[in-house]
């Protein structure tokens, strides 16, 4: 519960490297997400190359924090892997949330930067990374060793809870 309630978007990083074994743990967490009909339509592009980070920043200006990040993970889906069509966005979003929780649990920081459903950004990322034409990049997750501390946020709103009916 502490991890879920303490997770914040972290945009300032020290520049230190996250070791490969830890990146593997993050991907294990992502792939433990539920998916419609257990279809697991996800693919992950793990980018450490700083030049590629720069190119991603040009495509998606909200990813400026990639500069001092250790790794960018693009959570993608191959819609052809769906056995229950229509759910790949939810599946990859769930995988992304698992990844963000694991990041926080391991003492790292991250921010979720949306790509899909912006057609132009999807196309540009696809071109940049050589994604097959049907593969959809949902987002870019910038991950690093945090250089800022943000206290748990209290976003609980009673007015968003309805009982029995709306």
């Amino acid at each position: 519960m502490k991890t879920i309630l303490g997770r914040r978007s972290i945009r300032k990083f020290t520049g230190e490297t996250i070791p490969d074994e830890d990146v593997k743990k993050l991907l294990e967490a992502a792939m433990a997400a539920p998916s419609a009909c257990n279809q697991q339509p996800w693919h992950f592009v793990v980018v450490r190359d700083k030049k590629t980070h720069g190119a991603i920043m040009d495509i998606q200006p909200y990813t400026k924090m990639l500069e001092k990040s250790s790794v960018a993970i693009l959570v993608c889906a191959d819609p052809d892997l769906q056995t229950c069509p229509g759910f790949w966005v939810q599946d990859t979003s769930a995988a992304t949330e698992n990844l963000l929780l694991a990041v926080h649990a391991m003492g790292y920081g991250a921010t979720w930067c949306g790509i899909y459903p912006n057609d132009e950004k999807v196309w540009q990322i696809r071109e940049l990374l050589g994604l097959p034409k049907q593969v959809m990049p949902l987002n870019v997750i910038a991950i690093g060793v945090p250089d800022e501390e943000k206290p748990p946020s209290d976003r609980y709103k009673e007015e968003r809870i309805h009982h029995e009916k709306w």
Binding site: A32, P34, H43, E97, K165
Partner: protein, 168 residues
């Protein structure tokens, strides 16, 4: 339960005991949900907490995969307000919130399963009708919750073929 353990051991649980989930635990689940990230921090979510047996039993009348609700302690309907978030980001946001509920439920010793509603028109319509949902709000899914009467071992879903380095 520690976070990584809660993530890795989470399974879909469809068999529940008679034990009712106390309200304080439901509140914890909702706090977890509302701490999900959301595009521009718009937090477009709403939640309907259902424990009325009659209402829970009505869901399987239009949703063929929801029979477990007849034995569930509670259901939580996760919805997005399309006026708070006009783009499709509400789906990403509400999915993240749903996943937080599932992880928190597992950490707290509950069993849960995510029942898809969006994007299936008939399921959206059925849910909107049953729960009196306003026009500008869309249900994403329904989470069935209870104390588990089945245990399922952690899965081995890690697939290195789904990992690409620097380029595809």
């Amino acid at each position: 339960m520690e976070a990584i353990e809660a993530i890795m051991s989470r399974r879909s649980i469809r068999k529940y005991s008679d034990k009712k989930i106390p309200e304080e635990i439901i509140t914890k689940l909702l706090k977890a949900a509302m701490n999900a990230p959301s595009a521009h921090n718009r937090q477009p979510w709403h939640f309907i907490v259902v424990d009325d047996r009659e209402t829970l039993n009505k869901v399987p009348e239009y949703h063929q995969y929801s029979k477990m609700l007849e034995n569930a302690s509670h259901a939580i309907v996760v919805l997005g307000d399309n006026e708070v978030q006009t783009s499709d980001f509400w789906i990403h946001d509400c999915s993240a919130a749903t996943e937080n509920i599932l992880i928190a439920a597992n950490a707290l010793g509950l069993g849960a399963v995510w029942l898809g509603v969006h994007p299936h028109e008939t399921l959206i319509e059925g849910t909107k009708k049953l729960f009196n949902i306003p026009a500008h709000v869309t249900p994403l899914g329904i989470i069935s919750l209870g104390y588990p009467e089945e245990t399922r071992p952690p899965r081995e879903n890690y697939n290195p073929e789904r990992i690409h380095r620097n380029k595809w």
